[in-house]
């Protein structure tokens, strides 16, 4: 199959499989991921070489766009809207999953620290699609629903920060394993990657604001925004800075210095759906089914400790912010699904650590499939227990 034929086939197959899976009340992202696994080299081998080889390119672009959008959360207006309890719960559930997974991998599974911290940081992500779909289906309403939505909305921002810091630490440990002044090096390299990303993102945002006076039409806007995102991804790659953080900071600074910044973020909606579809299909296609049996224990530990960390962290966050008992007890169960951001982080890890990357990536793809299938059941249970399911949805 030639590349363009393959692209056409993927987009249309993606469209129809999303329609099909919606009948079983699962979100489109699950359909795209499963489609990728089925079309991938491990099963039907229908994926053209040219598309498979561009996995890195597509995921870089998609991650840049996502990180840019997530940066929008960092405005006073947005923090005020979501409230104190959501901020506490989301930070602590993300940190809870991070700590539980990192420590269990390091202490129980005896994995090297840089592998443990990578798994831990990916575990902090939550995918909102499945959770939001269940909330819409149940028309649930109330304090629990609002808190849950707030948490899934902001969670990815914490994940990107945790992952970027962990990645910098993992890279420093990996490349300085034998060096003297080990800790100093780790600290210095991590700081450089993060500070550099912050400065780059900030400078780009100022430039973007300055040059936006030349914009006249919606077409200009889309070209201009994509151009700046690509420039930012490219420069941060060139200077070995964190691509995710640089783009998140670009979005975060822009939203704070430009009053009409939402036009930049909204213009991307015209192009991102097909890119996101491709991203998920490619993530699925990159799964190596053959190595899954050897990952049994790692996968099970990841599945269990991530959820345990989220439930414990959310409960603690709820206690600190005086949230209601039902929020504290059940909100963690609404945070089970994982998808886009976790897969994206795993792809970054795969590219940066070729020797262990496949192990990390395959574990995350396989656990994503399981979480996406089980997650909606957990969310349904949590919403029922919270007593916020609309009467109409019961019948």
């Amino acid at each position: 199959m030639n590349t363009v034929l393959g692209l056409g086939f993927i987009l249309l197959a993606g469209f129809f499989s999303a329609r099909l899976i919606a009948k079983f009340k699962f979100p489109s992202v699950t359909a795209y991921l499963l489609l990728g696994i089925i079309m991938g080299p491990s099963i039907l081998n229908l994926m053209p070489e040219g598309i498979l080889n561009s996995s890195g390119l597509i995921s870089n672009i998609v991650l840049g766009i996502i990180a840019f959008g997530i940066g929008q959360n960092f405005s006073y207006d947005s923090f005020r809207r979501i409230g104190k309890s959501v901020i506490w719960i989301s930070i602590l559930e993300a940190l809870g999953a991070f700590l539980f997974v990192t420590l269990s991998f390091f202490l129980i599974l005896r994995q090297p620290f840089y592998i443990s911290i990578l798994f831990g940081s990916i575990a902090s992500a939550t995918a909102p699609a499945a959770t939001v779909m269940v909330i819409r289906e149940y028309q649930s309403k109330g304090n629990f629903t609002d808190t849950l939505l707030g948490v899934v909305a902001i969670d990815d921002a914490w994940c990107l920060i945790i992952f970027a810091v962990s990645l910098a630490i993992a890279q420093a440990i990996y490349s300085h394993m034998l060096a003297a002044f080990f800790l100093v090096n780790v600290f210095f390299n991590s700081l450089l990657s993060i500070l550099g990303a912050f400065i780059l993102g900030g400078v780009m945002a100022v430039l973007m604001r300055y040059f936006s006076k030349y914009l006249r039409t919606q077409t200009d806007l889309l070209i201009f925004t994509l151009g700046f995102i690509f420039l930012n991804i490219g420069l941060s790659t060139y200077f070995h800075l964190s691509v995710l953080l640089a783009n998140m900071f670009l979005g975060a600074v822009l939203v704070n210095i430009e009053k009409s910044s939402s036009k930049f973020f909204e213009s991307l909606r015209q192009v991102d759906p097909p890119l996101f579809l491709l991203f998920f299909v490619l993530a699925g296609a990159n799964l190596e089914i053959a190595i899954l049996p050897s990952l049994g224990l790692i996968g099970v530990a990841y599945l269990v400790f991530r959820v345990a960390g989220k439930v414990t962290g959310a409960d603690l966050g709820g206690r600190i912010s005086n949230a209601s008992k039902s929020v504290r007890r059940y909100i963690g169960l609404g945070l089970v699904p994982q998808a886009g951001v976790a897969l994206g982080c795993a792809l970054v890890a795969k590219n940066d650590f070729p020797s262990i990357g496949n192990m990390i990536f395959s574990t995350i793809v396989a656990t994503t499939v399981i979480y996406e299938l089980v997650g909606p059941l957990c969310t349904r249970y949590a919403l029922h227990k919270s007593g916020e399911v609309a009467a109409a949805a019961h019948s």
Binding site: V132, A153, S260, S262, A339, A390
Partner: protein, 156 residues
């Protein structure tokens, strides 16, 4: 020619505490819901309520929360006819719950060309007009500008 020369000065504005019921009553004689500025006690512009914001009343949660979230499936069209709404909502929902605090306003001394370009770029048809202190002094719509051009060219 500047925005202040052709803007509409008798603008209907509301407060954060205005109830939904009162808001709807204000426009009961209109056949469309216009862009409504929200002002503080000192007349400073605090936000706006658009038709889109008004429709949020029909949603079980504030969709703005999910505005920044990637990979969501698009929401199906709301069925406003089957939605459960109660009488108390008219008094319980206030403007602050539905207003938008991130919005575009335009300064009174901006040129008409500037205002027109900004409308095109942001896909908007109306902007509240403010003075140098951020106080609301009028509203300008795309039709005001178009009408001015017709007038200038002698068509009307």
């Amino acid at each position: 020619m500047q925005v202040k020369d052709i803007m509409f000065k008798q603008v209907i504005a509301v407060r954060r505490s205005t109830k939904l019921k009162e808001l709807l009553k204000l426009f009961s004689k209109f056949h469309i819901f216009p862009l409504v500025p929200v002002i503080e006690d000192d007349n400073k512009l605090a936000g706006v309520v658009s038709f889109k914001n008004l429709m949020n009343v029909f949603k079980p949660y504030n969709p703005d929360i999910l505005k920044n979230v990637p990979f969501l499936d698009e929401e199906k069209d709301d069925d406003i006819f089957s939605m459960e709404l109660t009488e108390e909502m008219g008094s319980l929902v206030i403007v602050e719950d539905i207003m938008q605090t991130k919005f575009i306003s335009i300064k009174q001394d901006s040129s008409l060309q500037e205002a027109f370009n900004l409308m095109k770029l942001n896909l908007k048809e109306e902007f509240p007009v403010i003075d140098n202190e951020g106080k609301l002094i009028g509203i300008i719509g795309v039709f005001d500008i178009v009408r001015h051009v017709f007038h200038q060219k002698g068509v009307i």
